[in-house]
Subunit: 349 residues, 2 copies
């Protein structure tokens, strides 16, 4: 079997629709129709299929894309392939696309707007059927070329400013508010916030939620105070550095709301350096820490529907590709607080 295939395979030249047509005694047009559901007499269709099978014909997707002005792959552009949040999101996209004939390819922009721009160019140039993007930046990510050419685009998790595209995101403000409220209720008083880069919508919204909770509990002055607020870069090292700073304060915080999972890893690391662990210092992570079960003691987190984010984005994209012309929509998913015992409260109040 293998031998046969290999024997045939030595031919380095592509089997084209023409070859199949000749073998089946029909025109190329008919062969195309057989493979694309055109009307063809059953007898002919059969002989075409047989000929195609015998020759090992596989359509040239490039030629097809050129003619149809649209390929059958969709691109998912994410800013950090090493962040489990995005890989889970990717799984959601894939599973949704799975039910169609579309293939998903992943592009890692690495939080780098240049790389991202290149990938957007590739998506456009390769005439991809659609693009789902978690933007590396609010203002520099330009989806214009895509939308101009009517390529369906969905923004996920992060929404580039003034882009007229469907979007799926989480309720960051609400999540931040619930998180900090939980810490307050657990008995913590000096609650810090380590959020993402300034200018990123996710950073700002989560911080705003945090402030709203503080305001409700401790009044406007506390909420406006920036002593316990740090901006970092959504990565492990950034979280660690920010936490070290906070711990070095004359009066360090007794709890911290961390606006992303990776930074939480850094925070726990910094805590360990000083010999402290939750719930001695309260730690609440926005986004679950991967394999949180390993963390001892385990910590409370705002659980993000990463998988659903991806699935919903893909569904939206598929709708658009099916020709939906409904006005641009934004879907907002709710977060869920995942409480684990050990953050019940500070050691002694």
């Amino acid at each position: 079997m293998k031998a046969t295939v290999h024997g045939e395979g030595m031919r380095t030249q592509l089997v084209t629709i023409h070859d199949v047509a000749r073998a089946a005694g029909v025109s190329p047009a008919t062969v195309s129709r057989v493979f694309n559901g055109g009307k063809v007499t059953p007898a002919r269709a059969l002989s075409v299929q047989e000929a195609a099978a015998a020759l090992g014909f596989a359509p040239n997707r490039v030629a097809r894309s050129l003619r149809k002005q649209r390929s059958s792959v969709i691109a998912l552009i994410i800013p950090d392939i090493e962040n489990p949040f995005f890989t889970s999101l990717a799984r959601g996209v894939e599973d949704a696309a799975q039910r169609t004939s579309l293939s998903v390819v992943l592009c890692n922009s690495d939080e780098d707007t240049d790389k991202e721009r290149r990938y957007l160019e590739v998506a456009l140039g390769e005439q991809m059927a659609g693009v789902i993007v978690a933007a590396a930046s609010q203002d520099q990510t330009d989806l214009g070329p895509l939308t101009d050419r009517r390529v369906p685009v969905v923004a996920v998790d992060r929404r580039p400013r003034d882009a007229e595209v469907d979007a799926v995101r989480v309720d960051n403000h609400h999540g931040g508010e619930v998180a900090t409220r939980h810490l307050l209720q657990a008995g913590y008083h000096r609650i810090a916030c380590i959020t993402g880069p300034e200018g990123a919508s996710t950073s700002e919204e989560r911080l705003a939620g945090h402030r709203a909770a503080l305001r409700a509990a401790q009044g406007g002055a506390a909420a406006a105070d920036n002593t316990y607020v740090r901006h970092a870069d959504f990565r492990v090292d950034g979280g660690r550095a920010a936490m070290r700073e906070l711990l070095a304060l004359p009066e360090p915080p007794d709890a911290v709301f961390v606006a992303n999972n990776l930074m939480t890893i850094g925070v726990l690391d910094a805590l360990r350096e000083t010999g402290r662990t939750p719930p001695d210092v309260g730690v609440l992570s926005f986004g679950d820490v991967p394999w949180a079960s390993l963390v001892r003691p385990s910590l409370t987190a705002v659980e993000l529907p990463s998988y659903e984010l991806g699935r919903t984005a893909a569904d939206l994209l598929l709708q658009r590709m099916d020709g939906s012309v409904s006005p641009v929509q934004t879907v907002v998913l709710r977060t869920k607080l995942q409480v684990r015992e050990s953050t019940a409260g500070p050691a002694q109040t």
Copy 2:
């Protein structure tokens, strides 16, 4: 600025090389030459570039691929996008490709040979410039169609049986041997092994290394005994289930060599269920556990050069794409034992 771009962008029709040619007063051939380094009079070249910029011309990569019979993207097919080992490997590939004009797209086969086959078809049909694949299976992964069409292919981490392609992998046998030897030296006696699926080269080789170490220390009988050997699926749940089985034995093992990082998570989970932790029971992981710093107590692991694996694979691929005709080669990278204090030995011997 944005407004201008947008104003131009309303055109939904593609700017072609013809439009640029007309605007610059030259032939399409000349425009092509300008963009591909053909010989063109400087003055003409300049006017072409100006015209292209003014019109916002971006070459149609599909048409180009069709004509050149080769696109400018390479595919990286991995079996589990949620495994940090593979995402790190992906980073290595990307960074290497970065220095060229090639783009990398990631495909997640999900350990599913059907999905994998589809992605291989896509890679072939899209006439990708090259493919790096961590095969989902030894025997079902068929690279024949690719190699027949002379598409450069590199197998990474796992080597599909009888595929004549360059390969990069780690020295699994050696790594397994070192791992188990370390456990023996630490004073453990009844050392189990949880390895991957039967038939996977990585599973078998790591197990063989484990057995070699046992044989050296305890003789052939111990090495041939399968009481403490389990095959699982390289995932968290598989590791947990296997460990539960081992713990339920009349005489449970006092240490375990786990052949992959994710299964180790499951193992630690199973241990926790019974209230035990390393070094009470020795745990040695093949492949580092993500954010191992969080694990308390931390554990010893065979560190895999995942990033280098990716980078080396990409380098090999680039060589082939540059036309290297040297015979097929396999690069084997060494593992490194990452010792952490807490696995110094069993509680009481």
